[in-house]
Symmetry: C2
Subunit: 479 residues, 2 copies
């Protein structure tokens, strides 16, 4: 039994075509945030979003973020759209986040149709277009919900706060500072009880999920230098210490081919697996075949599905990305590179933090390097870091989303964690001190950031229903 | 006591200025073989060399080598200059090799003077210019020798065969086939008793050397592939096998940071060190400081001079050159590269050959890779190979050169081996089946291939004397 009124659900079904038209209008605005020549369209999209919100009863404000240097010119950052609906002290206040900018897309990249013309494939009932799933579909899902409530005269069961940005695909420039500045008594985010972000995807194409964790990261650049300039291996091979040899020795001590991190102390920082958690991974609607299919080869690290999913979601990983300064072209150059930088990163999970990880990593690299007994020099830099995020999936915010999903899809959602990071999640959690839920609308196969990005019509429509139902479930649960 | 007549030595001293003028005329022709727009000057230089040889009594022939594709156009390869002087059955027949082309050089590369104008620094008595030491000085040294003999009416004590090429700096295109075609009864190289190549350098700036060995090479490209495309380390780290991790593990098993090759069977192929040889390295006029100075850092692999010199000259080496296909730019990309190729080469010494080395290397790589228990795929390619060269330094060809050096410089020359390769050496040795001597004219600091290439005037003049005396020593020893 859905907590949402039947009229609401019926309205969504009845207005399918209008909702498609709304998405079509949004897709037509090429709001590519990473290209200065498209910046005017990002601003245009911000105004479009503001008008849509105002039309469904939300009081809005465009927050300017100042100028930005991009592609050799100074451009104005697109505004954050703040919105407010309801001030009822007896209701929970839900902050919703989405973004209205998109990744670049050109027909010549391999799109079947113009990426900025919404193309409805009637056979598969899929909606193709840049931004369909990332993130215009989910953003407009909220507008659809509010339109239905306004038109039907149904009172919204929660207070709503809106934060829609236009720079997510380009590092969310300016947003972190704004969130921190607007947290606290009397500020815009004052009174927010929970956050809902709809900007990720189901694990597969059939089972909805709620996401309660994200891995953090620590990125290292390890530089080893020897001779003052590159040497000829004929003249100096087996005569001097070679930085490349040293690097291969040191990096071979970082991680096993099975993904086990060899740096002492790191695995001990990982929170212990609970039986409840293990069971969550066992239950997940995902198979080894799904993993192999998504990477295009049978290379899963284990035959145990839960192990592989935990490797990706709840355990750290260490990946070597490349070497800067070595010979990297085609052909057969006989160089001894003078100075090289190997790069690797570690994905962090609770209770790892950049702080407690970095010192262990640097100490280990230095001690392994010392064992080599080489005359090369080692320096280690940390290029960037970010904490992991973990929400309580038993919080009413998640329970409401799970009940909404069950009501609409007739299925218990998987409780997943993401291997990568969505930095704004952590910013909200830290700045507001509330539970942050990731409630995806699209499927694993949607191809966000890729060519022929799509959103299944059923996900758009059912996703709209889930978002609305979720608000009613919150009101019901927390009453 | 020199075997050469005193008049010859006096003539060389007396004609210093004319010899400098000859070198100056040669330097003025920018015979850069690697650039199509300079090709006409290479041909011009070939004709210059022919005229010089004819003027001192050598019967010459320009051997065309056909067309070549270079910089998008078809150009004519510069001719090989063949020369013949003497057919006396009672004399030894000496084949001399040099090259008349040069490396590119532009004033803007950092030259102090125009690289194609011979600049005589009177304070240091050094002759600056592209080709001064590599290889126009040595080539003209032979012309100087022949001019002196002709003018003085001194009969040449040996028959001479000349092979001067114009493509050495660009892979000696066409020369190998010509040498093979002209070896054998009735052909141009028929009757050659020994070869003298003057195209390398002293180990340092004070002690002459003779070179009797060159290392060979085997170059490997090791490709490891996993996923069908590059992956995001957040999404797939610790979920699939990563080719980079595998490569670091395998390559860490190739060689120690001290230069010891770890591939079983390889070191066993190296000829045993004789006490006589060891003593040769102990005696060499070279120090650890010289090595550190030449590489610009204190990174010599040992404190034992002989060990370091043997590492470079008479033992194999293994150098890792780089990785193709990994992230190699600046910055912090979080990619799991899908397919990468690590490259390394082994410098070979007798009795290693590409044939007996390659199978051991490939077998070892495959067995080490199998131990990793990864699902990535491994392929090993051999990109190119070349045998090492070793002449008998007790052969009369070397003894004559040593006596000539002792007579002119008052010093026993060091007997050295080169860490790199000069392929034509091996071609002559294999095709003609005779002893090949490398008799350098210039010093270690000459900067062949570099900016401000120079030849010390004393090396040019004394080097000319050594070349002439060497011919007389041959006649005397082999009488």
């Amino acid at each position: 039994m859905s907590a949402a009124p039947k009229e609401f659900l019926d309205y969504v079904d009845a207005h399918k075509d209008a909702f498609i038209k709304r998405l079509s209008d949004a897709i037509a605005i090429p709001s590519v945030s990473g290209d200065a020549s498209y910046r005017k369209h990002v601003h245009e999209m911000g105004h479009f979003v503001q008008r849509q919100l105002e039309a469904v009863g939300v009081a809005t404000k465009l927050v300017p973020l100042g100028p930005q240097e991009l592609d050799g010119q100074t451009v104005e950052l697109p505004p954050v759209v703040f919105g407010k609906l309801g001030e009822d002290k007896n209701k929970k206040t839900v902050l919703i986040y989405a973004h209205y900018d998109v990744q670049p897309a050109l027909l010549s990249d391999g799109w079947t149709h113009d990426p900025f013309v919404l193309t409805h494939d009637k056979e598969t009932d899929r909606l193709y277009g840049r931004g369909s799933t990332d993130d215009k579909g989910p953003l407009l899902g909220w507008i659809n919900v509010l339109e239905a409530h306004k038109t039907l005269g149904i009172e919204l069961p929660v207070n709503l706060r809106v934060c829609f940005e236009g720079m997510e695909e380009s590092g969310s420039e300016g947003l972190d500072d704004l969130i921190k500045a607007e947290a606290g008594p009397g500020k815009f985010f004052d009174g927010v009880d929970c956050v809902c972000i709809s900007d990720n995807y189901w694990l597969n194409d059939v089972t909805p999920c709620l996401t309660y964790g994200l891995r953090g990261i620590s990125y290292f650049k390890v530089t080893i230098s020897g001779p003052a300039k590159d040497l000829h291996s004929g003249l100096f091979g087996n005569c001097v210490h070679e930085p490349m040899t040293d690097l291969f020795h040191v990096f071979s001590k970082l991680v096993t081919p099975q993904g086990k991190i060899l740096i002492p102390g790191l695995n001990e920082l990982v929170d212990e697996l609970t039986p409840e958690e293990r069971e969550r991974y066992e239950r997940m609607d995902y198979s080894i075949d799904d993993i192999n299919e998504s990477v295009g080869a049978s290379i899963a690290i284990s035959d145990d599905k839960a192990e592989v999913l935990m490797g990706k979601m709840r355990y750290p990983s260490l990946s070597i990305h490349g070497i800067e300064g070595a010979f990297s072209a085609a052909g057969a150059k006989t160089v001894i590179p003078a100075k090289i930088s190997g790069k690797f990163s570690i994905r962090l999970v609770p209770s790892m933090t950049p702080e407690n990880v970095d010192s262990l990593v640097i100490q280990y690299l230095e001690s392994e390097f010392a064992k080599l007994n080489t005359k090369s020099k080692l320096t280690v830099e940390n290029l960037h870091g970010g904490k992991p995020y973990l929400a309580d999936p038993n919080h009413w915010n998640f329970v409401a989303a799970a009940k909404a999903t069950q009501a609409i899809y007739g299925k218990q959602p998987d409780l997943t964690r993401e291997g990568g990071s969505i930095p704004v999640t952590l910013t909200f959690a830290d700045a507001l001190g509330v539970n942050v839920l990731l409630l995806p609308m699209g499927r694993g196969s949607d191809g966000a950031h890729s060519t022929n990005e799509k959103l299944d019509l059923s996900n758009y429509i059912n996703g709209t229903k889930v978002l609305g139902t979720y608000l009613h479930e919150i009101a019901k649960i927390t009453k």
